[in-house]
Each structure stands twice: as structure tokens, then as C-alpha cells.
């Protein structure tokens, strides 16, 4: 029993299976596990490398970024229409982005499920319809509540500040078991405590007979009329020679995430007016604060608490987080002695994130020469108008907690004290001045009840095909407003159940 790698093969290959799953992340791993446990011969093809869970601790954070983050974390959704450009990060490894998460596990909020089941007529996706799938996934990945004593000092301080404005800090639910609070989940958990899919689902899939192939890139799904008959893939051996892998399969599941799935479908001949459209990103902004005391933000469960006080009314979610000290230092303005005098006190910096429940303003396109995805993102006026409120609110919370100064995600802006924030022209900040990030590309192959307005039907099957399915973040019918891995895993569980039925 092993995880195979294209690198170790020396010639073209042909394989047969019942179901081939493209992508081993949050969606793909779940579908593969359920089908394998139901007795199917399952093949999982993953473009990225395989790094066993306990090997992550041997890598520096920058090594993880260069080897396991897609594009070394430098993918950009280009801002159009005056909105910000957004740095979109995803994983590229066995386990997909799941190995990089902060472990945060939110159920899809009820108001979102009501919208899906009532307005979008996705009747089965009601709170009641989805509850069994949430429960099953929570059990499978061991979702637990982070105790208050595992919060970093910075998180606790933000909570103290927010409480003065009537907003409660709530304990996060995370997929962990035996977390030590060393705040480096985004680079793979060094203790194997984070129950990412390479720790929770894929071992089950392999135990049930599934075969996982790393370092293999799927180029297209082979179609014969409405039937998917398998996939064509390529890999390189250790001497950098290119080879082909042809897979014959009874069913094909694409779970390559919201950036890659639409392009793969398009290359395979799927034609849908919605393909690649409706991309949502959950644009996120970090606000840092300097305290007189050292806060040592990395000490604690990486994402231990959140504030959803403004989620339903204003589409804002505040999440605790930790980023590498080097990245915190990089976002301080300046170069040279003045810069270094600030940067060397990085242990005094605390950070919190604010995320927008966005409208679908993004689109995935194919780059002309490379064929790689290029994303554009037109932030809606409503979302853009929310940014000043979001940033002001976070600044207020920090000052209420005793921060000396705050650092806004606005390029070239000096740290500001409370008076500086009061005078800061938030409303005049242009989109290109904003430093904005996303870890949640979703929705580019939406699920829906009609072929004209969606790419897949309510079972995750691509419209007008017999056996081609999608089961990753790309199928989300709208933005969620909360971190999506539990939602993706739950939808994938539901899709696998439908396939088995």
C-alpha cells in the first residue's frame, strides 16, 4: 500500500478503474473515500507532490510555500472596475489546500442555506437536508471546539476590544486532535494534529483499496458523446522525460478546485455559458496592531476564535489568524534602519482578519500561451463600500484593547495611532492601494436547477453528461461568508451518496 508518484515511472501507462477522481483535496478525497469504501475501484490523480503528514515539521515555512503552495502563493485575481487585485492562495499537493488550512470548520450558515433552498430552489440543500452531511464530516475529521486557553495573546486582546463594542469572540471549531498550539497550520501541521484529508480521509480510501497517484496532471476528460470514458494525463519521470497516462473509467469526478476545474471541463469539451463565471473569493483584509507587551502571535491554535456579530447584517466575519513573522514584518512600510527598528519588534505585533461575504464578481479565463487559469475579479459596489467600515471597526477593536498603533492593509501607509485613524481618509482609498487576499476561490462551476444558469445539477453531475461529476469548491451556488472546507466536504459527501444510490 503506497502513494504512487509519476516521477518513479519510466514509460507511458494505461489504467482501468470504476471511478477516477481528479484532485485529492477537500472535495476529491471525500468522494474517493466513500466510493472506495462502497467497493469501487477508485483512482485519485493529483498534480502536486506527496508529503507525508509528519514530514511537514521538517520544512521551513518558506520551503512549504515553494513546494506545496500553488505558484508559491503568488496567484493574483486581477482587480477590474476599480476594485482591489486579490492574492489567491491554494495548495498543490496530495491533500490539496486542505493540508494548508487553519483547521477552521464552519457549517454553511442557515441564512445561506435558506437562500439556496428557497430562492435558488435547491430544495435538498436546506438546513435540515444538509445537517446529516455536516454531522458525518464533523465526525470524520474530528471537529472540536478550541478551548479559550489555546487562544494566542493577540486573539484574546482583539476579543477584549470587540467586547467593548458588544461583539462577542466565539470559540472556533476546528478539525484537530491533540493540537499543541504552535500556530503553523498553514504550512502543514508538524504534529499530525490537524485532521486534513491526507490524515483523515485518504488513509481510509487507501485502506479500502483506492490508489493515489501524485505528480500526475490530468489534461482532459475523454468524452464519447455524453459519456465520460476516462482521462488523459501527463507526468514527468526523474530525468524530466514526459510520459502519458491513459485511464479508462466508468465515472469521472473533477475536484481540481475553483481555479482549475472550469478550465479542465472546457478543455474536455463541456460547453456551458456559466463555466468559469460567478467566482467568489471572500476578499480578506488583515489589520495588525502593535502592543507594548510582546504578544507572540504564533503561540496558540492558529485560528482559535471568530466574531460573526456582523455576518448576517453586514456580510463581515472576523477570524483570528497567524501569519509568518516574516510576512508580518514585510507588511510594515519602509526600508532601511527605520524599517528594521520596527520590524525587529515583530513579536509585539498582533493580527486579525476581516472577511467579506462577497457577491459573485470573479471569472476564470484561460491564459493565451500557457493555458493556465487567469482570474479577474470585479468587486461589487456594495462590497467595496463595506471595506472602510470593516477596517475602521477592526482598528477600533484594537485600540479598545490597548494597542499603541495599527497597521492598515493599505500600501505605503505608515502605522497610525488612534488620532491618525480618526483622520484617515478610508473612503478615498483606491482599490489598487488595498492589500487583499483570499484562500477561498469558490463557485466557478455553480450547482443549480437549470442548465442555463449553472454548470452542474443538484447531484453534482455536469449538465447533459451521463457520468461526469464535479465535487470541489467550484460547485458552491453562492458565496458562503464563512471558511468553506466543511461545506465542500459535506457537499462532496452528499454527491458521493447520490452516486452510490
Amino acid at each position: 500500500m503506497t502513494v504512487r508518484s509519476g516521477l518513479l515511472e519510466k514509460k507511458d501507462l494505461e489504467l482501468d478503474c470504476d471511478t477516477v477522481v481528479i484532485g485529492s483535496g477537500a472535495g476529491g478525497a471525500v468522494v474517493a473515500t466513500h466510493l472506495a469504501e462502497a467497493g469501487e475501484r477508485v483512482l485519485v490523480l493529483e498534480e502536486g507532490p506527496y508529503v507525508p503528514a509528519l514530514d511537514h515539521g521538517g520544512m521551513r515555512q518558506s520551503e512549504s510555500i515553494r513546494h506545496l503552495w500553488r505558484d508559491a502563493a503568488m496567484t493574483l485575481a486581477v482587480g477590474v472596475g476599480g476594485g482591489p487585485s486579490i492574492n489567491v492562495t491554494t495548495g498543490r499537493a496530495v491533500g490539496g489546500s486542505s493540508i494548508l488550512t487553519g483547521g477552521v470548520c464552519f457549517r454553511i450558515p442557515e441564512h445561506v442555506l435558506h437562500q439556496w433552498s428557497r430562492e435558488l430552489e435547491l430544495r435538498d440543500l436546506s438546513p435540515k437536508g444538509m445537517a446529516p452531511f455536516f454531522e458525518q464530516v464533523e465526525r470524520d475529521v474530528h471537529v472540536e471546539e478550541v478551548p479559550a486557553d489555546m487562544r494566542s495573546r493577540g486573539t484574546a486582546l482583539f476579543g477584549e476590544g470587540a467586547a467593548k463594542f458588544g461583539a462577542a469572540l466565539k470559540p472556533m471549531r476546528r478539525n484537530t486532535r491533540g493540537c499543541d498550539g504552535c500556530g503553523r497550520c498553514n504550512f502543514g501541521c508538524p504534529h499530525g494534529s490537524k485532521m486534513s484529508v491526507d490524515v483523515s480521509y485518504l488513509p481510509r480510501a487507501v485502506a479500502a483499496g483506492a490508489e493515489i497517484w501524485a505528480d500526475v496532471r490530468v489534461d482532459r476528460v475523454k468524452m464519447s458523446g455524453a459519456r465520460a470514458t476516462g482521462v488523459d494525463a501527463t507526468f514527468r519521470d526523474l530525468d524530466d522525460n514526459k510520459h502519458r497516462l491513459r485511464v479508462r473509467a466508468e465515472r469521472v469526478v473533477v475536484a481540481a478546485n475553483a481555479m482549475y476545474t472550469p478550465l479542465l471541463l472546457e478543455r474536455s469539451g463541456v460547453r456551458s455559458p456559466q463555466l468559469g463565471k460567478n467566482l467568489t473569493l471572500h476578499p480578506s483584509f488583515r489589520v495588525m496592531a502593535r502592543f507594548d507587551e510582546p504578544v507572540r502571535g504564533w503561540e496558540g491554535a492558529l485560528q482559535s476564535a471568530y466574531i460573526d456579530h456582523y455576518e448576517e447584517s453586514e456580510g463581515m466575519l472576523f477570524n483570528s489568524l497567524a501569519i509568518p513573522n516574516g510576512v508580518m514584518a514585510a507588511t510594515l512600510p519602509g526600508f532601511g534602519p527605520k524599517y528594521w527598528s520596527r520590524a525587529k519588534d515583530v513579536a509585539h505585533l498582533a493580527i486579525f482578519g476581516g472577511m467579506l461575504h462577497d457577491d459573485a464578481g470573479g471569472e476564470v479565463h484561460r491564459a493565451p500561451f500557457t493555458g493556465e487559469p487567469v482570474m479577474s475579479y470585479r468587486m461589487s459596489e456594495r462590497d467595496f463600500g463595506r471595506i472602510p467600515r470593516l477596517l475602521r471597526r477592526m482598528a477600533d477593536f484594537w485600540f479598545a484593547a490597548g494597542a499603541r498603533e495599527i497597521i492598515l492593509p493599505v500600501f505605503g501607509t505608515e502605522p497610525l495611532d488612534a488620532d491618525g485613524v480618526a483622520r484617515f481618509p478610508f473612503e478615498q482609498v483606491k482599490g489598487h492601494q488595498l492589500e487583499c487576499s483570499s484562500q477561498h476561490p469558490l463557485g466557478s462551476c455553480q450547482m443549480g436547477v437549470a442548465r442555463g444558469t449553472s454548470v452542474v445539477d443538484t447531484n453534482g453531475k455536469v449538465w447533459d453528461t451521463d457520468n461526469l461529476y464535479v465535487a470541489c469548491g467550484s460547485i458552491m451556488p453562492t458565496s458562503l461568508g464563512v471558511n468553506p472546507q466543511l461545506a465542500i466536504m459535506s457537499m462532496a459527501t452528499r454527491i458521493a451518496q447520490r452516486m452510490k444510490a
Binding site: A53, A330, E372
Partner: protein
């Protein structure tokens, strides 16, 4: 709503984890691509200005480390990352000096002039280019044990410290 904490399915804990990887596929031992010399030298030019503690360049051994590690990072990154880094380094080396009215390569400016030029570029619409390179350099700099000792930022876990 108060949600329950659920335990894994029976027998789940007994499942073996995924097996170790074959040594030949270890990501850190894989073939790296060639790095143009200008990538390393520009990274060093910017690092000298960025981390200058007092107007003089930082310790030479640290600069060697960052130059070579930045090169390794570049060598292992693919299409988009390479393009972003390459364009950003170009902007820092050749465009930044124009912000202090010196149409010369950044490396030929004194450290204070370099810092001023880079600061002005950072505050301009080219700010993201400065951030891309600065973020990489800072991550690598803060991973060095000497920086961690200087800044009291060595990795530690909350639970084992408590």
C-alpha cells in the same frame, strides 16, 4: 445553536496513516531549474537596503544565506511565481531609482538612497511589486536562527511552553 463534538467512526483510530514517501520523490531533493544570476544579485541588493540596521549593510554571511535561499526559492517556483518575481525584481532594480531621479541600477546607489528609492516605489501604484519581493526576503530573513534569536521569535508551541 450549541453543536456537539463528535468522535470519529469506530475503528478509525486504528487505521494506518498514509505510508512514507519514496526518498527519490522528496520535494526538497527534486531537480531545480536554472536561476539567472541577476535574480540572486538583485535580491541581495534589495536585502542590503531592507535589513540595514544602521545605514551599513547587514552581516555578509546572512546576505550570502538570503541570496542563495532566494535563488533556490526562484529555482523551484513555476510559471506565475517566476513571472511575478522576475517583473518585481526588474521594477525594484531599474524603476525604483527613477523615484529619486537617479536613472541607474539600484545597486549603484548608496544604501540610504536605495532605501529612499524603494520606499517611494512602495508607496506608488507599483507597491505590490515591492511587497512581493519584500515578503519573500522577510520570510527567509526571519527563518534564520540569528534573526530569531535577535527578535525573540524562535518557533514555540503554546501548550509545551505552558
Amino acid at each position: 445553536m450549541q453543536l456537539p463534538v463528535l468522535q470519529g467512526p469506530p475503528g478509525y483510530e486504528q487505521l494506518p496513516p498514509l505510508p512514507p514517501a519514496h526518498p527519490d520523490v522528496d520535494v526538497r531533493r527534486r531537480r531545480a531549474r536554472a536561476v539567472p544570476p541577476s535574480v540572486r544579485s538583485t535580491a541581495r541588493t534589495v536585502a542590503e537596503a531592507l535589513f540595514s540596521p544602521d545605514g551599513s549593510p547587514p552581516d555578509a554571511a546572512r546576505l550570502e544565506f538570503i541570496e542563495s535561499d532566494f535563488g533556490d526559492f526562484y529555482a523551484r517556483s513555476n510559471g506565475t511565481a517566476r513571472l511575478v518575481l522576475r517583473l518585481s525584481l526588474f521594477a525594484l532594480m531599474w524603476v525604483a531609482p527613477w523615484f529619486v531621479f537617479r536613472p541607474l541600477p539600484l545597486s549603484s546607489l548608496s544604501l540610504p538612497q536605495r532605501a529612499r528609492a524603494l520606499e517611494r516605489l512602495e508607496a506608488s501604484p507599483l507597491g505590490p511589486a515591492a511587497l512581493a519581493v519584500k515578503a519573500m526576503l522577510c520570510i527567509l530573513w526571519f527563518e534564520h536562527p540569528t534573526t530569531q534569536a535577535e527578535t525573540n521569535t524562535a518557533a514555540s508551541c503554546l501548550r509545551s511552553r505552558a
